[in-house]
């Protein structure tokens, strides 16, 4: 097996070589530093898979059990490693099965490149076997997509795909490649893409707006920072920490921003949003300057926009111009990459201490602790709570684990109670709320950081949506830890039914299979816990395992997640019970 570079040396002209489009795809991936891809073969992508067979020592392919699993694995890999995740599928149903992952990656700004096979150029539009217009279908859920119909287009388009996926506000890119383009030959020369005329991924920071932001922050009596994933994507964790410490500003996070700053940092006041912490939500409506950094004022964060932070001057640090004034009007907008803009801001910030204001958060925390947290973490009732399971995982993993969550009650509980020391440790489906995300995303997360403990926390509903990916764990011996918090319900929907639909539990009661037997069927070591006395040892055994491990915890069937901002209500109206 020879690389393109090696082949180039042998080539008489020392410039280009003729290779097939399929081989060119592999070389493009290698040139971009890709060594791991997820996918599922099929007729229209077989030439590329045939080439993969030859390049097995350089490019590992993980056979997902469903294309959706491949995309979520690519997402988990990207989110933990900071690199671009890659997924591949055949045409038609293979391609359409990628759509959920693409949509998830789009709304959560995750850099992935998906490659799909397509019927030959002469068959396009003829309703040929396994033909779908995947470019049309995926347009609303991709940052960019393109159909390659000629082999000669491959190097340039692939380079552009990776550049677009990872630059600026990252996102998913789909490249559809017709079968003839995979078979045809081309002169292969690869140049990495460094710019696209029409695309400016990094807005130039405007010093005047940064000065205006600094003035508002310096003059504020009750400043408050809410940060989002923009901090993690922009690698601005250190700058954010310096800012809050220098100015003494209490700071809260959206679930996508979680773990950017250690949980136990004294100025980290917790989570905003529908099931966020009491203080960070209520005090949003009492601060005088709200500094939003790398977050997009999602409706789950703001509740009713009519009553959101109306008293505050809003300063919005954001890389995407379309997010400015989209939901919340900014008094000062600072465009740019968070690392760059915060570095420009920091010298303008005066040292300060807002101890009295911070004490307001502490008081609210105490109220929340007495009413909610104590009962979640150290319950006196008989049934196991999700909160105490998370707390045991914190203890056993010494707050060092990557926590991957699915969607539902367990997700909110995990985001509330998981503790982190390191950035890029909280992997969840924030924007799309994709049930079925966690199991494949955990596989990807583990492969993106093999030296880290990866614990997937999943509800019984979401687990069954992509349960087939246990096959990947078995086949590749991926040592992820899987915790299913089983309440025999679609818990979050059931909670809403209880609170807002007079407890009419329409189709939310789950009659579940024997999860332990299923895991054992995949030769994964398993355990089940239904009593408090056994929880600690079971979690410790799971964390200590060097192999994949499945733990089912039977938790309270009808527990609710509080605090809660009812849909469309004000952040001030957060309910503690």
């Amino acid at each position: 097996m020879e690389t393109v570079k090696a082949l180039k040396k042998k080539h008489k002209n020392n410039s280009t070589i003729k290779i097939s489009g399929a081989e060119a795809i592999i070389h493009c991936l290698l040139e971009e530093g890709v060594d791991l891809i997820y996918g599922y073969p099929g007729g229209a992508i077989m030439p590329v898979y045939d080439e993969l067979y030859k390049f097995q020592d350089k490019l590992t392919h993980i056979l997902a059990r469903h294309e959706q699993g491949a995309t979520h694995a690519a997402q988990g890999y990207a989110r933990v490693s900071g690199k671009v995740g890659v997924a591949m599928a055949t045409s038609g149903p293979g391609a359409t099965n990628l759509v959920t992952g693409l949509a998830d990656a789009q709304i959560d700004s995750t850099p992935i490149v998906c490659i799909t096979g397509q019927v030959a150029r002469h068959l396009l539009g003829s309703d040929a076997f396994q033909e779908t217009d995947i470019v049309g279908i995926s347009t609303p859920v991709t940052k960019w997509n393109y159909q390659i119909t000629r082999a000669s287009e491959i190097p340039k388009i692939m380079a552009k795909a990776f550049y677009i996926a990872k630059s600026g506000r990252p996102g998913p890119v789909l490249i559809d490649i017709t079968k003839n383009a995979q078979f045809d030959e081309l002169d292969f020369v690869y140049e990495k893409c460094t710019g696209v005329r029409s695309y400016k991924p990094y807005p130039k920071p405007d010093l005047k707006s940064i000065e205006a932001a600094a003035k508002l922050i310096n003059d504020a009596k009750k400043p408050y920072i809410v940060w989002g994933q923009g901090i993690i994507l922009g690698e601005a964790e250190a700058e954010l920490k310096k800012l809050i410490e220098k100015a003494g500003i209490p700071a809260a996070w959206t679930i996508m921003g979680e773990s950017a700053i250690p949980t136990d940092h004294p100025l980290n006041v917790g989570m905003v949003g529908m099931h966020g912490n009491y203080g960070p939500n209520v005090l949003t409506n009492e601060c005088d300057v709200l500094v939003a950094i790398g977050m997009r004022f999602d409706d789950r964060v703001t509740g009713s926009l009519d009553t959101y932070a109306k008293q505050a001057k809003v300063v919005h640090f954001e890389i995407d111009p379309a997010e400015i004034n989209k939901n919340v009007k900014a008094h000062v907008a600072v465009l740019g990459n968070a690392k760059q803009t915060l570095n420009l801001l920091l010298p303008m910030i005066k040292e300060n201490d807002h101890a009295t204001w911070k004490a307001e958060f502490d008081k609210k925390y105490q109220i929340e602790y007495d009413t909610v947290i104590k009962n979640d973490i150290t319950p006196s009732k008989e049934g196991l709570t999700m909160g105490e399971v998370i707390e045991q995982i914190n203890i056993a993993s010494e707050n060092k684990a990557v926590i991957v969550t699915d969607v539902g009650q367990h997700q909110m509980v995990a985001c509330r109670y998981a503790k982190f020391k390191q950035s890029k440790s909280n992997i969840t489906s924030g924007g799309l709320g994709t049930m079925g995300f966690a199991l494949p995303a955990a596989i990807g997360a583990k492969m993106g950081a093999m030296d880290r403990e990866v614990v997937a926390i999943i509800g019984d509903g979401g687990y069954q949506m992509t349960i087939q990916e246990l096959g990947v764990i078995f086949q590749h011996n991926v040592p992820v830890k899987i915790v299913v918090l089983n309440n025999d319900h679609l818990g979050m929907v059931r909670q809403w039914q209880e609170l807002f639909f007079e407890s009419r539990y329409a189709s939310t009661v789950m009659v579940n299979p024997d999860f332990v037997k299923i895991a054992e069927g995949y030769h994964i070591k398993s355990n089940r816990v239904s009593e408090r006395a056994a929880l600690k040892d079971a979690v410790e055994e799971m964390i200590a395992s060097k192999d994949p491990y499945f733990l089912e915890v039977k938790v309270e069937k009808e527990d609710n997640v509080f605090p809660m901002i009812p849909s469309g209500a004000s952040v001030s109206d957060i309910r503690l019970k």
Binding site: Y146, V196, R197, S198, Y199, K200, N325
Partner: protein, 175 residues
């Protein structure tokens, strides 16, 4: 906020599939595209979309933000009608008998500065270029006599203010 007519101008790369991306942005916001024209622009290799919508300024601004976010879009602007010089074209197909039997039709053609494009045995075709309301007025005037077919083009527009778009785009690229 009050709804009014807005003309959105989008300067973009000339790539397949971009129309799908742009129209999808209007679809997501449930805003109807009232007029659409795509042509080459004054800059070589750059296409110009002229899109007409009837909505509020806030929605228009947000839509333009989303359009500008598309990788292949170079720059997008929006203007109200008073800020642009614009034209639309329309064709009216009328039964030939009426041209001779209804003298008023000839007056309508004269007064509206429209042109007869073709006359056949069974029908004749009138072409009218002008502002949207002028075309609407002509349509209203002809309708009682019977219009066999009617079609109106998308809008073409230039801004009243000097808008050295080539320089603006150059500046944008140098940012």
């Amino acid at each position: 906020m009050e709804k009014q007519w807005y003309t959105i101008s989008v300067y973009s790369e000339n790539n397949v599939g971009l129309l799908n991306r742009i129209s999808g942005i209007f679809l997501k916001r449930h805003i109807n595209i009232e007029g659409l024209n795509v042509s080459k622009s004054e800059i070589e290799g750059v296409s110009k979309f002229t899109i007409v919508v009837f909505t509020t300024e806030e929605w228009t601004r947000k839509i333009v933000g989303q359009i500008e976010k598309q990788v292949e879009v170079i720059k997008a602007y929006y203007h109200i009608d008073d800020e642009t010089i614009y034209q639309e074209s329309a064709l009216f197909k009328i039964k030939s008998d009426l041209l001779f039997d209804e003298r008023q039709i000839q007056n309508i053609i004269k007064e509206s500065n429209s042109q007869i494009v073709t006359v056949a045995r069974d029908f004749f075709v009138i072409s009218k270029t002008g502002r949207r309301n002028e075309i609407d007025e002509m349509h209203d005037a002809l309708e009682p006599y019977g219009i066999m077919q009617f079609v109106r083009s998308g809008r073409i527009a230039v801004s009243k203010a000097e808008m050295p778009i080539t320089n603006l785009l150059q500046e944008f690229q140098n940012q």
